[in-house]
Symmetry: C2
Subunit: 478 residues, 2 copies
Amino acid sequence: MAKEKKVEQITDMEVDFAQWYTDVCKKAELIDYSSIKGIFIYRPYGYAIWENIQHLMDAEFKKTGAENVYMPMLIPESLLQKEKDHVEGFAPECAWVTMGGSEKLEERYCIRPTSETLFCEHFRDVIQSHRDLPKMYNQWCSVLRWEKTSRPFLRHREFLWQEGHTMHATAEEAKEETEKILNVYADFCENVLAMPVTRGQKTDKEKFNGAEATYTIECMMHDRKALQAGTSHYFGDGFAKAFDITFTDKSNHRAYPHQTSWGVSTRLIGGIIMTHGDNNGLVLPPKIAPIQVIVVPVAQHKPGVLEAAAALSEKLAAAGIRVKVDDTDNSLGWKCAQWEMKGVPVRVEIGPRDIENDQCCMVRRDNREKTFVSIDSAPEAAFDLLQQVHDGLYAKALKNLQDNIYEAHSLEEAKALQEEHGGFIKTMWCESLECELRMKEEAGMSSRCMPFAQENLGDTCPICGKPAKKMIYWGVAY
Amino acid sequence: MAKEKKVEQITDMEVDFAQWYTDVCKKAELIDYSSIKGIFIYRPYGYAIWENIQHLMDAEFKKTGAENVYMPMLIPESLLQKEKDHVEGFAPECAWVTMGGSEKLEERYCIRPTSETLFCEHFRDVIQSHRDLPKMYNQWCSVLRWEKTSRPFLRHREFLWQEGHTMHATAEEAKEETEKILNVYADFCENVLAMPVTRGQKTDKEKFNGAEATYTIECMMHDRKALQAGTSHYFGDGFAKAFDITFTDKSNHRAYPHQTSWGVSTRLIGGIIMTHGDNNGLVLPPKIAPIQVIVVPVAQHKPGVLEAAAALSEKLAAAGIRVKVDDTDNSLGWKCAQWEMKGVPVRVEIGPRDIENDQCCMVRRDNREKTFVSIDSAPEAAFDLLQQVHDGLYAKALKNLQDNIYEAHSLEEAKALQEEHGGFIKTMWCESLECELRMKEEAGMSSRCMPFAQENLGDTCPICGKPAKKMIYWGVAY
């Protein structure tokens, strides 16, 4: 049968999760390889997911007062070097433009790996007075980081993202912005992508190059590895000083503004795949699914079937559902397998008997539950099912997260728990880099975050035995 | 008075049109210079115009069946070289990446000046059968061309655009696509941007590198220079052969598909400025204006005024108008000048006397006509005025176009007409490159297009005297 044949094409996730992941990316036609190692092609179906994410998230940013801009893709080397920690972190991963036409450039330019330096240069021009603050800018663009390894959506040399850059009159206001946006990200992951998150702060080791503090949302994938899904950084006035950005405050003194930046990328799509996918392929959260409902005619050669399918599709579209009819001449089995592979949240089957009974059959992608509904109530029923799929995906992912946070009181225990279960291992931590490095070295785990929801698991660091006040999550991350 | 002061800041367009243009770009806060020559920063107000263009145009593309994708920004040199005419045209303007991190690359990569080669490489992977056709892809991205001169919006080394790339089973179908998209562009310019266009075909000299035919829409700016506003190219199967892209047709033979590409860029914003702007600044066509209506409270310190302004603004917003209240503590005169500079199509003034009379005063940006309307009918009145502004702008621009097309029957006459009036000079043309070059050399005009709406002005080419069948437009272009 065509259906089994199709399903066999992807590796079983329990057999080889990494291969399953790559198979899904390819077979669901999300992405393709380009001729440059580590740079991928976003195919229509993959890009449509990103467009939906962009559209919904951009509206949230705008509600906070952020405005979109577009900055140059090239950064002169001298500009990148203005903030020391920043350049140290990024210079090794830069791709450098050295020739313009047939001429060697006097100064080389890197393709932006991130744009703090470009925004700062512009902020210096447009910020003079407290009346010019806050400046809350965002851009949707691609950035380039010349990394050694790559993986579809998770690590590209070139990837699509958004980067917000804001300047505020006071530290308090900037900190508030950092937190506000982290919550926008977290709410978006949970309410739109059905991906539960852990909100917390990064350690000094893991924070962004040049930031005073980095906040993060960490998600747990189906294989119990961690995915950093979005970050928000507080810079203090470090860049402002390095770039000589000042403003006249209300009491007419010169002051340095306080800065933030924040970003999410197409990595979110990797997160969606690894959070919700199964052995039949992709499973898309309804709110960002390019096709929310696929209508599959049954016995479509019989008179009236294609017409009924088209009429049903129009009815659903008119109600605001993203719907498509598969009226190709492929077999029913092949079609079902194909749209399961592509993760369409609800499949609607309609055949001669359904038409007779003035009904159709709706099938949920996540649990394959079937419901027969009358044609009249189809739009309402479809909306209900889409919400149920969202809720079902979220509940399942939340259970995976909650069931896989383990408490450890020694490095050995942490290591054993990670080896046995994966997931997040929570311990107290003395806040020293040394202990963080030991955890990496001996248990193979990086610090994920110090959750905002702190718990007191004891008084000492399980690694060095010294007093500890912070609870931290460790994990193996993508 | 603040108002006069502001207006004095921009150069009079009759005195120095080029300086007027640059002044508007800067003072309306559309764009800023970056530290790299020829690369500009799209500021929030300028970028918002582009977002509105994107949003509306993207919907038109999708109606034609086009799907969005995202291709790599880098092209390996060997890939760029696969189509000879193409590489000859673009290689001299490429910026080259030669270093990745600290390592010299084995092959250098150019930053895409356009992406035909990347799309072709991908098409080879995804096109096997006639069932895979047509493929109609589009991407919104930035491209880079290392040109010597630059001008805000009109010529950037890096600029934002969209590039459509399509593959079809037959030449007819590809030609139809080329034409269909040119009409999408033309209708968009006229119906959305209020910019009348001339539709036609480019000469061989002016066509796109590697294309068989290039179609264009040419607009006339206020200073009677021409602006090429969008182009659509028919490639035949030239790239398909160079890239070895084949498909199995319905009769089971291998065949080469036929290709098109098409693009518009942020140049359109330059066109808007130079078509509609005046000595008070920018004048925006209402459909893409980031702010369609600005509400300016009069005597705002008086009780109830700010509240009434806010209530009016909410009423307009609820009706679907993009509206903003200027409740800053700037003077009324300054505010009016400021929003005129920014080209907001309709200004609404509301003060104590208006509140008493349950009315407000609406002022058109294009002709400063004032209308008093009741608060109740404000949304309807605003929609009417926005449509009137659109129609007024279009009519004025159409008159400028129609009044400035001059017929010439000798090279000398063409030259004299251009020198006296500017505009488009129409003549017959023998279709030889030689005559085209002479027109450039001796009269300083390039060929703009051979309009689809041909007229018979005679039987001979006014340049060489040989038989001529084509009517052509000449002009001085941006």
